[in-house]
Amino acid sequence: MERDINRPATWLWVWAAATALLLLAPTLVVVPLSFAGEASFVMPPKSWSLRWYEEFFTNPRWRDALSASLRVALLTTVTATALGTAAAYGLARLRGRAAALLSGLLLSPLIMPQIVTAVAVLAVYLRWQLNGTMAGFVAAHTMLAMPYVVVTVRAALSDYDRSLDLAASSLGAGPWTRFRTVTLPLLARGIVSGAVFAFVISLDDVVIALYLQTPLLRTLPVQMYDSITVDVDPTIAAAATLILAVTTAVLLLPSLIRSKKLKKVSVP
């Protein structure tokens, strides 16, 4: 029988599924654990309950950590997206050695070991009295998240037709109007993915957050880390499951919006 060349072979599906399972399985273990009835990490759980979710949303330690994490992540998303987009836009207009140098500098937080960054940030923050402050958290996370925005927006810019800028200016648009009406809408997809990355990076960070935490301001990953070192508390499984759900939802968001948009276009 002739095989459709566009359809992957069955073994390829099996291979892909096995790889996906290998990548996801350790993470997915926390999901059944979070619904366990007993205060232990026994897999599979002997009984089921929602008590760890209740604990998560009622215990002030967990609730405050969640609120701190969300506030830091949202503010980081805004600052990292704005700064990263501007940086990518500027980089696209540079040529030669200056561009390579600046782009390396902007992307360096990606390569720098986080522990080194964390120690350095703490040293500076202690002098500036920024540790344990919202501004300090957001600034440090912005530094971590901005490279992701720069990368996604630069990718979007590489498809961007510069003659559209010339067209807009010949039609009477000044630089700012040009950016607002042409560049920004066309880069929207890259900017949104950058923003999603920024949000997730901030939500996910534990190393820097550990150094910057104070009893008054600690993010969810720090609270999780503390809880697991102190005692065996399955609330962490509930927290982990929630984070998993939120990040998955956030990461899937752009592709969901995209497919909806495509449908809208095809029906004139």
């Binding site: 067209a167 200016s169 010949s170 648009a173 000044g174």
Partner: protein, 374 residues
């Protein structure tokens, strides 16, 4: 406020120079040109000849190194592109992909603060002008190349600029569409009375559309004139070769009043065709002013004759193109009407004859300054 009331502006380029950083030769070298209000001028030339750079300097896309650009007598060189109020049409359309056709065309009107009702009316009018009624809700990606370029034209014309600049506007389209849009551009130019400046590397496009052609080469203007002037009286070998086909008799030496010798053959030449005082000239002959004879004696009285060899015969509908080789080895071509009974075959000797009035003399160029052109 209808497009029909629009008026073209005159355009003057005054010793315009563009020198890109680190380059020895100027990309545009002292180009001076007057374009009358309402005229259609084509910038023609090989790639890298400076024609597009000149257009970009007029538009304000490329900073001017020195010189002036005057629109209706006002120097616009210091203004940014968005304040020059000129229209620009790009080779690859440059439509905004995230906007519908209607919003693309409305874009320049919104920048000028035109009200909504007036905008709708003008957009409709522009769509009618380019014959695209009914497509206002489409996105550029849903249109063919020809339709996209007509949307781009509507967008560049809707605010009635006094000068429309076009950069290879038909370059991305296939041949049939190109010829049809050439006629459309001519019609728009006629109907609107706007000044058109169109960059092209296609001589047929320039010959068929433009009132005048400005021929660029190496950053300089080589000749400016009507298509007929450039074709009949080229001022240089470059112009003669770039526009149309020609047979060139090289290394002719003036031998007194109204005559030259070409490889020992004396050729008559009208006095007014002499290109000034040159010790050597080249004689440019167009295919349709040449004829072929079997023997020297068969040439019409008073005609010049040069012995040639037939190398090829091609039928082109209403004419036959007969390729010939001159005594010095150069190639040439004769256009023979199909009703001419003479039957020539490759390899045959013949005499190429012409009325002395139809030759045009240009200064001979030394081989080192010569360039090869298609």
């Amino acid at each position: 406020m209808t497009p029909m009331e629009a008026r073209g502006a005159s355009l003057r380029l005054d010793r315009l120079v563009k020198r890109f950083g680190g380059q020895k030769n100027a990309a545009v070298d002292e180009v001076t040109l007057e374009v009358e209000a309402g005229e259609f001028v084509a910038f023609l030339g090989p790639s890298g000849s400076g024609k597009t750079t000149t257009l970009n300097m007029i538009a304000g896309f490329t900073p001017i190194t020195s010189g002036r650009v005057l629109v209706d007598g006002v120097d616009v060189a210091a203004l940014p592109a968005n304040r020059r109020d000129l229209g620009f049409v790009f080779q690859h359309y440059a439509l905004f992909p995230h906007m519908t056709v209607a919003r693309n065309i409305a874009y320049p009107l919104r920048r000028r603060g035109v009200g909504r009702a007036e905008t709708d009316r003008l957009v409709q009018q522009a769509l009618e002008l380019v014959r695209l009624e009914g497509l206002e809700g489409r996105r550029p990606a849903e249109l063919s190349g020809g339709q996209q370029q007509r949307v781009a034209l509507a967008r560049a014309l809707v605010y009635r600029p006094r000068v429309l600049l076009l950069d290879e506007p038909l370059g991305a389209l296939d041949r049939q569409l190109r010829e049809w849009l050439q006629r459309e551009l001519k019609r728009l130019h006629r109907e609107l009375g706007i000044t058109f400046v169109c960059v092209t590397h296609d001589q047929d496009e320039a010959l068929s559309m433009a009132d005048r052609i400005a021929l660029f080469d190496g950053g300089r203007l080589r000749q400016v004139g009507t298509p007929a002037e450039l074709y009949r009286t080229p001022n240089s070998l470059f112009v003669a070769r770039f526009l149309g086909e020609s047979t060139v008799l090289r290394e002719c030496v003036p031998s007194g009043e109204g005559s030259v010798t070409y490889g020992g053959i004396r050729l008559e030449m009208p006095k007014e065709a002499a290109p000034g005082a040159h010790d050597r000239i080249a004689l440019v002959l167009r295919p349709e002013s040449l004829a072929l004879a079997r023997r020297d004696g068969d040439a019409p009285p008073g005609a010049n004759a040069v012995p040639v060899e037939i190398t090829d015969v091609t039928y082109l509908g209403n004419t036959r193109r007969i390729a010939i080789r001159l005594p010095d080895g150069a190639e040439g071509a004769v256009a023979q009407p199909v009703d001419d009974p003479a039957d020539w075959r490759p390899g045959e000797p013949a005499w190429m004859t012409w009325n002395p009035r139809h030759g045009s003399a240009v200064p001979e160029e030394t081989p080192t300054t010569e360039r090869s052109h298609p």
